[in-house]
Amino acid sequence: MRPEKTYSELMRELKARRFVFTGELEPEKTTDLTEIIEASKFLKGYVVACNVTDGPGAYAYLSSLAASYILQRETGIEMVYQLVCRDRNAIALFADLLGAGALGIRNVLALTGDHPAVGDTPDAKPVFDLDSAQLTYMIRKMVDEGVDLYGNPIHNPPKFHVGVAANAKADPLEPEILKIERKVKAGAEFIQTQTVFDIEVAKQFLREVNRFNIPVLIGIFPLKSYGVADFFDKNIPGAAVPPELLEKLKRVKDLDKKIRNQKYDEVNLEVFIPFIKELKKTPAAGCHIMAVGYERLVPRLVEATK
Amino acid sequence: MGGNMPRVGVFVCHCGVNIGGVIDVPEVVNYAKTLPDVVYADRNLYTCASDGIDSIKEAIKKHNLDRVVVASCTPRTHEPLFRATCEEAGLNKYLFEMASIRELCSWVHAGDPERATEKAKDIVRMAVAKARLLEPQEELEIDVEPSSLIIGGGVAGITAATCLANQGFRVYLIEKELELGGMLRKLHKIFPTQQDASELLKEAIGNLKAHKNITTLTSTVVKDVEGYIGNYRVTVQRKDGKNGELKVGTIIVATGAENFEPMEMYGYRKYENVITQLELEQLFRSGELGRPDRIVMIQCVGAREKEGMAYCSRICCMTAIKNALNIKELYQDTDVYILYRDLQTYGKEYGEYQWKAKEKNIKFIKYVPERPPEVIPQTNGKLTVKIYNVSINEEIKIKDCDLTVLSTPLIQHQAGKELSPILKVPLGSDLFFFEAHYKLRPIDFATDGIYVCGTAHGSKTISESITQACAAASRAAIPMAKKHVRSEAITAQVNEEACIGCGLCEYVCPYGAAELVRKPEGKWVSKINEIMCKGCGDCAVICPAVAIEMRHFKEEQILAQIGTSFLFPAEGEFEPKILVFACNWCSYAGADLAGVSRIQYPPNVRLIRVMCSGRVDPLFVFKAFRSGIDGVLITGCHPGECHYVSGNLWAEARYEVVKSWMEKIGMKPERLRLAWISASEGAKFASVIKDMVADMKKLGPSSLTRSLTEGGIR
């Protein structure tokens, strides 16, 4: 199902079977990307591409299309434009994808999107005109055949690759795997998973999806502080932090602030360097580091696992 | 019904040589004896003769028969006779069934006695199958209140009231205005006699007032009507706002019509010298006409349109000529033009009228609706009328007209429109009241006991209104003179348990006999008034809960007939088996006529008689095909002529639906047909049969397994 053409660095690396690192940037309710551009300096040279979130958690944040373009231009890092189905109908999604093409974006992550009810604009109409599988299918049609869903031709079709998300920790797991099968059928070219802490979980997942022959980047979530870890653990089901890790972070919390950050970094490196080293031994195609606001850790992580 | 098994007696008639000359009657008798529950079978030379009648009565008594089948001529002649015979022998008359082996068999298959005899056996078997399932019925008889309500005190209402009162009936005449007279009060002179309208009216009212039997209520309107023929309860509202109740046996609608006001057309209400004919009459009466030098009349204003009022209002041409002549009588020299599309002056007097007008130099100019006249105001207050004269292909301008008179149609009143849902009687597409049958029942509504006359029914002349009023009075007098009405017990019956209260029966019934009512425990069920029900069966077939049965034409009885219609197997060359559903009033009569006329056709058909083609349930069609029948023909009255108003339209709608299913289930749609056959179309009946037999022969036998038995399916 992979096209002959390669349009992005990410895809080139994946095809070459080199272990790939990707990062994540999350602009919030702002029109100013200065801070993020600054933070992304840590990522340059260490990740091959960076995801730009689209209304994560159903929060009304800066358009990921605009952000992807600006960040790609300003940082020189290739972006993965995340596109959710929550807010736009088939026409708008298509229009934005043409826009992405026109703006030189080369990777798209097709997502369903969190329901408005869980975000900060809970009464917004949930659109979901397409789901992530249908969106993936549409994107492949645009790129490979140069037409829209109804077969109408596109002048100068866009050139990008489409990936999908997965939950390696889903319970029950089987429907998640079958869903991935569907998305692969629809044309997905790579997978980035949600956060995983347990390497065994990652291995199990990789075994299940092995038959689909699709590059999988396992997601990790370095925890900047105990506060962040606790918040995610308590409030985001599916982002459960292993208790031992929480404990370790908790102990750091009470330390002197002069050494606290350094200690946090140590805890994370202690957990994730071995994780990534193990991961490199698996069929995983790479690692997706979701270090939002914690970009400074990335260079050490990548270096230590070379 | 004594005991559990019915005891059927079969009497096969020779009818001299009419039947016996073709059909082997003894063989049919012997066959009848082998049928289930037949305990007695015999033959007669003429069953309708006194010895034949006696033999039936004797056999009933001697053999304890509780069902009787007579196989002879068409039920449309002697069914009443044989039913009476059964009654005289102590048997309920609805336990009798007739099998027609003359009109439907011996007379039309004279050249093939063998097959005619086989068919006669089948017909007898079908009749026995139904007879076994017949149930005794009671006919309802109700008293008729010998009083009548006439709604509307115009010339029609007054005439009807006077006629009825003359016959000795109590009459209530109600009129919504303060004074009697209706449209007549507004008219000047009447054509063609030129009698003064007010004189005619005075005479009519004089006759009315002379009667003690007539109670006249003016400034009174009908608020509500409940009940049915013989027992109407009418709520009227008087001028003081108080309500009163009247109990009457019949109702006559004579609410008249009003004159259409053509707002904005030809400058009406825009220029003050554009008026209607009615307004012209008022000017004559009041003497305010003035001295116009030139008058133009325009015909067909707001009438005979493509949309809206499509009808011709019948009287406007005469009215225009009448008024034109009146003007000429007043002022010889006044120029009068009549711009017309067609001059509808029919009959002797009215034809002469036209010539008289031309003699008086009234000018007639023909126009076409594509190029209507134009009325243009002049600065001096007069009007110019432009008209494209099609006779000479030229546009003419008639300048300096003092008056333009528009001939507009009569239309239904607001009061008439409001009366329709109160009486539950329909309005036609032209909004005038709609009669039961255009030809056969032009004065009656489909609802028994209510009649219509005058312009409420449609535009007509005064003499026509008067005639119709007399007719309505006669019609109303019939039930009142008889003092009772009896209804045939072939009415619909609701199973209240099964009824889901959908209201479709109420919607579909042309007689208003079905009504959705709320029972005390809260459930909505259909209640059928057996006096008003005519037994067409529309409700039974549309009922989505299968909760309605038709007495004497029950589903199980008809299915029994379907199941026993053909005896299998037939050896030798393939002979298609065709089942025909025929309605009692038209197509069955047409089949009888084919018989009477001795038109021969192949014996491949068996007829099932229903009261209306609307009774034919799609389930009957499926059962027929599933029992191996090769072709099914549904026949009924021509559209517009259904005895039950619209049952045939339901039959057609259902036929189209079933037809669309046939291919999907793997059957050839040509096997199902529909034909409209009137009572006078015997030849057409025969030719439809011949065609169908030929076509079914070509199609070949139905590939469904035959599952007929002697006793019928199921």
Binding site: R86, L111, T112, D114, H115, A117, V118, P126, F128, D129, L130, D131, S132, A133, Q134, Y137, M138, L149, A165, A166, N167, A170, D171, P172, E174, P175, L178, E181, R182, K183, K185, A186, Q194, P237, G238 | D224, P421, P426, L427, G428, S429, D430, F434, G501, G503, Y507, V508, P510, L516, R518, G522, W524, I542, G640, V645, S646, L649, W650, A653, R654
Partner: protein
């Protein structure tokens, strides 16, 4: 059935302000069956309205009640309510939104007010004591592929190719993880039947939709009757 609930009394009261002769029309269809708007509720509401207006506004108003087998049929509404409507000047309908509109259409010159809020098409579960939304009238039923579980009505996102990533332990992210993820239910059911092929089937973006407001012909055209009758 169509699931409805009574509007707050204060809202009904304020809608009817200024009207003296009110007709409350109940419905023996959906709203009556679920004991929201039948004749009984109409009569209770009548008492409440008359009392409230008397006590709060010192007005003596005339409230009449009547019910019909269902309000969603213009013929029934025209025939069964004619007399009562003529006597009153404002109508409060205890039918669903369809009923209110049918009455308004038939009786154009009288104001008609909705006494209920129409919620969803749902199922009654007596043992749980609740009504559940089960259908969204999508006109393209694929319950044959989903083991009889509707993915439009029961999946918060109406996904044709679910589940989404928001599912945790078979619970949906909408509603605080208290409601079942429809897609996990579908997976369980199809697994039971050995038909996971139906689960994995890729369902395309739906085309040839009829957009609201939608229409449908009656099974046998009931307008095709009674000759020239209007």
């Amino acid at each position: 059935m169509i699931i409805v609930k009574l509007k707050p009394f204060e809202e009904i009261l304020s809608m009817l302000e200024g009207h003296q002769r009110i007709l409350i029309v109940g419905c023996d269809g959906c709203s009556g069956i679920y004991e929201v708007g039948g004749l009984r509720q109409a009569e209770i509401l009548k008492e409440q309205l008359e009392l409230a207006r008397e006590l709060k506004k010192s007005e003596k108003i005339s409230v009449k009640t009547v019910t019909v087998p269902r309000q969603c049929d213009n013929d029934i509404v025209a025939k069964k309510l004619r007399r009562e409507v003529a006597e009153q000047e404002a109508i409060l309908s205890l039918g669903c939104g369809v009923g209110v509109q049918t009455i308004a259409e038939v009786y154009e010159d009288k104001p008609v007010f909705p006494g209920l809020n129409t919620m969803f098409i749902g199922m009654e579960n007596k043992s749980q004591g609740k009504l559940f939304e089960r259908c969204q009238a999508c006109d393209d039923c694929i319950l044959a592929e989903t083991g009889g579980i509707c993915l439009i009505a029961r999946c918060a996102k109406g996904l044709l190719n679910g589940p989404c990533g928001g599912q945790v332990n078979g619970k949906c992210e909408v509603g605080g993880y208290t409601r079942d993820c429809a897609w996990v239910l579908i997976w369980k059911r199809l697994k039971q039947r050995g038909r996971l092929d139906l689960f994995t089937k890729f369902r395309h973006f739906r085309v040839n939709r009829q957009h609201p407001p939608r229409e449908l012909e009656l099974p046998i055209s009931v307008t095709k009757s009674q000759g020239g009758k209007s």
